[in-house]
C-alpha cells in the first residue's frame, strides 16, 4: 500500500514554513527586547504587534487582544459573555472546533444553512422573526472553513443590516482572507460595520501555526473584561512568539510570504478542482473557492460519506464531517488541499472516488 493521504485538518505544509527567516526573527526578538519577551506581560499582548494590528485594522490598540491562537480567544469570549440563556448562530457547516467551544457555553446553538455557498437568509430571517435573536452569529466570510465559500458583498451588507436591526453581534473569523488566489478582496464585515463585529484572525495560516499567535478585535466595552479573564486564566500568551511575528512583519516578510504561499497553494487548488471535475462530476456539488484551505463537497442524495474504516482501506483519512454540523453532515466532505502536492491530490481524489463503486 502507498502512503496514506490525509484530507483531514487545515494544516499548512512543512515546506511552507519560512524557517530561516523565523530563526532570524527569534534572534532579533531576543537580542532587541529580551526584557519584555522573556518576562510576564499583560494578557493584552506584545505592544509592538498590537500596534501593528491596530494600525492595519484602523482601530484603537486598546481593542486588540492577542492570544495563543484565535480559538483560545473565542473560548475566552464565550466564557465571559455567553450564558445558557443566550442564542448563538453559526453557519452550517462551520469550523468544527468553534462549534465544540460554543457548544460548551450552554448557549442555544442554531445553524443557518449555507446552500451552494450562500447563506440562507430565509432561514435566518424566519428565526429572527420568531423572536430568536442570537447574542452572536459566528461566520467565516472569506473562504469559509469547511466549505470554501466566499460571502458576496450584497450578503455581507444584508447580514449587517439584520444585525443592526435586531441588535446582535457578528463574530467574523478571518484566518484565510489573505490567502486569495483569484479575484479581488471584498470588504470584511468588520470594515463595513466595525461597531457590529468582533473580528478575529491569526498568523497560523500566514506564517506558522507553531507560533500560536492569534488575535481578536473587541468592542471597547468588552475589552477589559475579556482581557482580565484571559489574564486570570493564563497570565499572558508568549510574547516571544508574538515578537517573532512582529519582527517578521516589520521586515516586510509577511507580504513576501503571502506571495510565496499563494504561488504554492494556487496550483494545488487548481489540481483539486480539476480532479473533482474529472471524478465527481454529477455525483456531488462543490463551490470553486477563490482562496483559503478547503473545498467542501456535498454528495448527491443517496450517497454517504464513507466511514473511517472504508476510507482507510482505500488509503485515505477524512475528517469526521459530522463535526461541522449541529446535526447531520454525513453527505459532506471537506478537502483541505494546501498540505498535499499535486500528485497526492490527484491520487487522493481517485481513491475517494473508488469508495463509491456503484455510482
Amino acid at each position: 500500500m502507498d502512503e496514506i493521504i490525509a484530507f483531514t485538518r487545515g494544516v499548512p505544509p512543512v515546506e511552507s514554513f519560512p524557517v530561516k527567516r523565523l530563526e532570524e526573527c527569534a534572534k532579533l526578538a531576543l537580542e532587541l527586547d529580551a526584557g519584555r519577551v522573556l518576562q510576564y506581560g499583560t494578557a493584552a499582548g506584545y505592544a509592538p504587534l498590537r500596534e501593528w494590528i491596530a494600525h492595519e485594522y484602523r482601530v484603537s490598540v486598546d481593542q486588540i487582544l492577542i492570544g495563543q491562537g484565535s480559538l483560545q480567544l473565542l473560548d475566552t469570549l464565550a466564557r465571559v459573555t455567553l450564558t445558557a440563556q443566550d442564542a448563538f448562530f453559526l453557519e452550517q457547516p462551520t469550523y468544527d472546533r468553534v462549534l465544540t467551544i460554543f457548544r460548551r457555553s450552554g448557549a442555544g446553538l442554531a445553524g443557518i444553512a449555507l446552500r451552494d455557498g450562500r447563506l440562507d437568509f430565509g432561514q435566518l430571517e424566519s428565526k429572527l422573526k420568531s423572536g430568536i435573536v442570537p447574542r452572536y452569529f459566528y461566520l467565516i466570510p472569506d473562504f469559509q472553513n469547511p466549505s470554501g465559500a466566499l460571502m458576496p458583498l450584497e450578503d455581507r451588507r444584508r447580514l449587517i443590516r439584520l444585525a443592526q436591526d435586531h441588535h446582535f453581534h457578528l463574530i467574523e473569523d478571518g484566518p484565510y482572507r489573505h490567502l486569495r488566489y483569484y479575484g479581488e478582496d471584498l470588504p470584511t464585515l468588520f470594515e463595513l460595520a466595525p461597531e457590529q463585529v468582533i473580528h478575529t484572525s491569526s498568523f497560523s495560516k500566514l506564517i506558522s501555526p507553531g507560533l500560536r499567535v492569534g488575535f481578536m478585535i473587541l468592542p471597547p466595552n468588552l475589552f477589559q473584561s475579556v482581557r482580565k479573564f484571559a489574564e486570570d486564566t493564563y497570565i499572558n500568551a508568549s510574547y516571544l512568539n508574538q515578537a517573532i511575528a512582529s519582527e517578521f512583519i516589520e521586515r516586510g516578510w509577511l507580504s513576501q510570504n503571502l506571495v510565496e504561499l499563494k504561488e504554492l497553494y494556487r496550483p494545488r487548488l487548481d489540481t483539486l478542482l480539476q480532479a473533482l471535475d474529472e471524478h465527481f462530476n454529477g455525483m456531488a456539488t462543490w463551490i470553486k473557492p477563490q482562496g483559503g484551505f478547503f473545498v467542501g463537497m456535498n454528495l448527491n442524495e443517496g450517497l454517504r460519506v464513507p466511514d473511517r474504516e472504508r476510507s482507510q482501506s482505500a488509503g485515505l483519512v477524512l475528517s469526521d464531517s459530522r463535526g461541522f454540523f449541529l446535526e447531520g453532515g454525513d453527505q459532506f466532505i471537506r478537502l483541505p488541499f494546501c498540505a498535499l502536492n499535486s500528485a497526492q491530490i490527484r491520487e487522493g481524489v481517485k481513491r475517494l472516488r473508488s469508495l463509491f463503486p456503484d455510482y
Copy 2:
C-alpha cells in the same frame, strides 16, 4: 521621589534571563525540528520535552500534559473534573491566581489555615470528620506562594494518609522547588504517593516566564479527557517554546542556570530577612524560607495592611493581600524578593515600616 519599589508579583529579574543561551536554543529548535515546532501538534506537548519530564518524574510519558503555563492546565483540569457539587480545599493563604481559577468552577472552596507555616491539621481533620471531603486539595509544599513555608516531611506523610483514607486527590504545585537556597530537598507529595497526587510545575521560574511552558502529571484515568479538552480549546501550546526549553535542558543549561539563579537570589533573601528583623521585630511574624520567591509576613493584632494609596505615597506597591484568602487577608503582606536588588529590598522594607508610624 525615588523610584517606586514593587513588592507585588513573583516575577524573576530581567538580569536572570539566559538570553544568549535561549537565542542558541531557538536557533537549534528551528534548525533541527522546524517541521514539528512550526506545525500544529497534539495538546499533550512536544515529545522530547514530555519524555524528559516523564524520565525526571519516573512516570509514563502518557501522563505528561504540557501547556502555556501551569495555570492554564489547572484551569483546564477544573473545567474537566470539577462541578458545583464538589468541595475543594486550599491552604490559607494560597496563590491568588489559583484561587480565582477554582472559584470559577463553582466548587465549594474551603481554606485550611497555615499557622506559622504549618498546615492546621485540626481544622482539616474536623472538616473531613464533618463529612466535607474535597475532590482536590491544592498545595504548594515547597516555598509556598505567598508564605514561603516549607511543609515538613511528617506533615506530608500525614496529609497523604488523610487523602488515602478519605479518597481525595492532592494537587501539588511545585514551581519553586528547585530554587532551594538552604537545606536539603524533602520528597514531594508526588514522590511519596504518586497515585494520590496531581503534580504541576513550570519553567517560568527556572528559565523564563516568557516561554510560557508549564506541565502537569495526570493520573492515567484523567489524562485523555484533560488532553482532549485542552486540544478542543487551543489545539496545542507552542512547540517552539517547548523545544527551546528542551534544547536548554539537553545542553545541561538548566542545572547550570539553577546554580546561577540560586547565587543571585540567596543574598536577596538574606537581605530581606535581615531588613525585616531590623524593622519589623515585634510587629509581625514571618517564617524564614529556605527557598523560593516570597516571604509572607503576618502583622500583629491591631495592625492592618496599608491601602494602595498609602503604600504609593511611600513609594511602594504591594499586592492586594485579600486575593490570597477566601476571606480576610488584611494582616498579611507578601514580599517577593527575587526581582529586587539588595538596596531596593532594604529601602522597600524601610518604606513599609514608615507606614506604621504609631508602632
